[in-house]
Amino acid sequence: MPHVVVDPITRIEGHLRVEVEINGNQVTDAISSGTAWRGLELVMKDRDPRDAWAYIQRICGVCTTAHALASVRAVEDALGIKIPKNANYIRNIMAATLTVQDHIVHFYHLHALDWVSPVEALSANPDATANLQRDLLNAYRLNFTTPTTGQTLQSMSTEAVPHDFPAATPQYFAAIQAKVRTIVESGQLGIFSAQWWDHPDYKILPPEVHLLAVAHYIEMLDKQRELVTPHVIFGGKNPHPHYVVGGMPCSISLKDGNAPVNTARLAIVDRAINMGRTLVNNYYIPDLVAIGNLYVKAGKVDGGGLAKTRVLGFGAYPIENYSGTSNGSFFSNMLIRCNGVVENFGAGVANAAFHELTADDLKAEDGFTEGVQHAWYEYPENSNPDLHPWEGITKDKFTEPKVGTETVWQQLNEQGKYSWLKTPKWKGQLCEVGPLARYIIIYTRAQKGMLPNPTWAEQMMLEQINAVSGVLGLTPEVWLPTMVGRTAARALDCQLNAEINRFFFDKLIANLKTGDTTVVDNSKWFPEVWDQKCHGVGLYEAPRGGLSHWVSIEDSKISNYQCIVPTTWNACPRDDSAGHGAFEAAMIDTAVQIPDKPIEIARVIRSFDPCMACATHMFDASGKEIAAVTTDPNFR
């Protein structure tokens, strides 16, 4: 029985190692291991809570902004700050912008090369490719736009014509093909080096699709940077834009000559939002549906794993500003009410169960917990095996692998500890999170009649699912909880977020019109007015799934800070009673044609868009000091 190790998994954020046992074509056991630990949790202790966002944002530069946003939400929850309306809209624009850009980068630059190959593109006919592009736009453009009535205040499309439209000319594709040929023939493959290009899976798609996708890979590499300009306007830069506890630092004034945000700056945001919509509607969705359709037709409907059993969401996009998360206000005005857990979706909606998530679940001792059974951490001897994040402890305890030494690993020990990720649980159970989870939850809720008065965004999600089901000819229960479904849900999420971006931009403009330009609530800025001891939670449906930050503040310093990150939910090591995490379950649910070339494993892992630096455990404290050896050459 071959034991296959894939380390490093590339085209992800951070350091990930997977190991699989393969029997025939079937994976019988799988290990997912985060292989780096930076100890940021210990770095956070005793810092000023108002600075927390800056530190914790450095968890990850790919989903930059996600951690900053969850952090300011957590700190504001703890301190009881209600941010101004404008700040809420701007943060939602920051979040939606991140989601759109991140999903596009994921699909084209981190995921596409699992499906398409520059080598295959060489045999494509440029004329046929141009025709294919036209056909794709005809067949697979799922046009959804922000509804013009009801919940949006005004639907002002500022775009006269679509400015970023896919080229469908043979000359264009011939030029791309010539470039790819030069690269391949030069022998210097660069980023295309050493992949299993001869794997039969690359034959599933016709050469023209390969050429088309390679062309779009390059185009999107150029365009993605322009999608994040809202971060640059509102946060000063990207990656790692700036935030402030109490709102946003980007003061708005339409009367001052040197204001951080004025009409001209808003126009840049507007342009980026328009561009996001065009790119996702004309490139991403048609490409995705075309590739996904061919894969489904080829029988590739595996890789669902935990999605069939249990998915979790926190709910997304507070429509208006709210007074806190742990007091429930966050949950009461969400644009996407995916706050809950769906179990057994794989068995069909009729057999699935939905549990709504409320503020009480966040505070319950046994609601959300983390265990360290197979993680390189230890809890004190008499401690509960699963700890609530407000009481969380991070004390590293590295153990050797099964085969190999401390610093040279052959095979990790699945019986013992094998990852720097903790195992997060909801009521003792493991869950999958991500765009797929969000779609499964909204779909199940709606089907079960537990989604009263759907918002336009929820309505759009349901329509998107129906449209894709129509193209694939499968019911959502079949196609959603699969590897293809996970990747498809991300594309749909991208389209949805492009519209959400527009929605909140319109709301921002409408509110500015009323004369309200406030972006910060300063009333609780100074520590003198803080409670001596308080704690808060910040929730955010990040591109990769539900993200929660948990902060405890004591004497105006951070006394404990824990993050339960989407990739921790998905990539966590197993639990002896609760079973496998989503990565491991998905790998076990995946057939591998050629054990030496486990491209299916890499592909199913990448369908989660892993973000390992996020996942490797973030936080702690509770006074566990680790003696530090100074490596500072200045001996400071």
């Binding site: 630990w37 100890g39 770095v43 660069g190 790692h240 401390e406 610093t407 490596t631």
Partner: protein
């Protein structure tokens, strides 16, 4: 020693246009220590245009530097990655993974030994023999040492690889440090920032491409042209500083008017970066322009120089140095006053005793 013709001359001799010269990045090979004779050999051997080989490795990092790199507009990341350099190893963009990828790394190091550029993103974890940061079943430290040995030049991208970064902040649980001490004494071009400005990252490569040499470095190893000034000295809000116009709190009238953020803790006065002149996204903005005080992310120890929203650190409920100073001043004044009174009493009693003694003598 034989006079080496400049690359531009070489280009003219070959009848190539300036455009192809600029696009070609041939000059990188010169930096890699190849003479033009050898260069011709490489051209023939590769039966195509050889591109400078770049190996990009990741230590303790967040991939934000990679992301920043692909945000570059001039040169565009696609031009750079597909046309200017051969990015043979990079965890973010490379197609391959696992064993073949690691084998390809070894092969690349061997094939281009002494001739490739090593870009490093992320800090080195020194504690526990480096087991806090593993990649491909080996420690990042060993990967760095292996890759550095054959590198023609080493670029440290970001504050983590330059100085240790966030994981090296107090108490530095993993013993993280910048790469400089782990590359066998080779010179390191430091490009600090969290992350650095995209065009600064690509600009370092572009400089080599355009001029055929390494950019001038300051004493810390940073390219002078990108890190030669403090943000404060190039900031467009500097006139407001000079005039004494400050935002006092976030979003007050001064903040809306775009006045100086110094009193909100801005680190511009001590941060070396191109934020003030080059700015982000081709002049679109930088944190200060968007109303956010600089946190000094290109500085060596900026994570331990918090709080970011105050110029002076506060010591618990006591306050900052000025409050403590005033307190000590008042206490000192009170102290000397009390001392003066006590001294007078002591002197009077001393004089009295002396007087009595004198009387006794009399």
């Amino acid at each position: 020693m034989q006079q080496r013709e400049t690359l531009w001359e070489a280009y003219l001799r070959r009848g190539l246009s300036r455009r192809s010269f600029l696009k070609g990045c041939f000059a990188l090979t010169a930096m890699m220590g190849l003479s033009l004779d050898k260069f011709n050999d490489v051209v023939e051997a590769a039966s195509g245009r050889p591109l400078p080989v770049v190996i990009w490795i990741h230590g303790h990092e967040c991939t934000g530097c990679d992301e920043s790199f692909i945000r570059s507009a001039s040169p565009l990341a696609s031009d750079l990655v597909l046309n200017e350099i051969a990015l043979e190893y990079d965890h973010l963009l490379s197609a391959a993974c696992g064993e073949p990828f690691e084998a390809h790394l070894d092969q690349t190091i061997q094939n281009y030994y002494g001739n490739y550029i090593l870009a490093v993103e992320g800090a080195v974890a020194t504690k526990m023999n480096g087991a806090y940061c593993m990649s491909g079943g080996h420690t990042f430290t060993s990967l760095l040492q292996k890759a550095a040995a054959g590198a023609a030049a080493i670029i440290a991208y970001g504050s983590c690889s330059s100085y240790g970064g966030i994981q090296a902040a107090n108490p530095n649980p993993t013993g993280s440090a910048g790469i400089e001490m782990f590359v066998g004494g080779k010179p390191v071009i430091k490009v600090p920032g969290c992350p650095p400005i995209p065009e600064v990252m690509t600009g370092v490569v572009m400089h080599v491409a355009l001029f055929g040499n390494l950019p001038d470095l300051d004493s810390d190893g940073r390219p002078k042209q990108f890190f030669g000034n403090r943000i404060h000295d190039t900031c467009y809000r500097r006139p407001f500083f000079d005039a004494g116009l400050f935002a006092e709190t976030f979003d007050d009238a001064g903040a809306k008017a775009g006045w100086c953020l110094y009193k909100l803790g801005c680190r511009g006065p001590e941060t070396y970066s191109s934020c003030g002149n080059l700015r982000w996204y081709q002049g679109m903005s930088y944190p200060i322009q968007s109303g956010a005080p600089c946190i000094g992310c290109a500085n060596a120890h900026f994570w331990d120089e918090e709080p970011f929203t105050d110029r002076l650190p506060k010591y618990g409920k006591i306050g900052d140095a000025d409050k403590i100073g005033i307190g000590l001043g008042v206490m000192a004044t009170a102290g000397v006053a009390a001392h003066a009174v006590a001294s007078v009493i002591q002197r009077n009693s001393r004089d009295k005793v002396a007087e009595e003694n004198r009387h006794d003598e009399d």
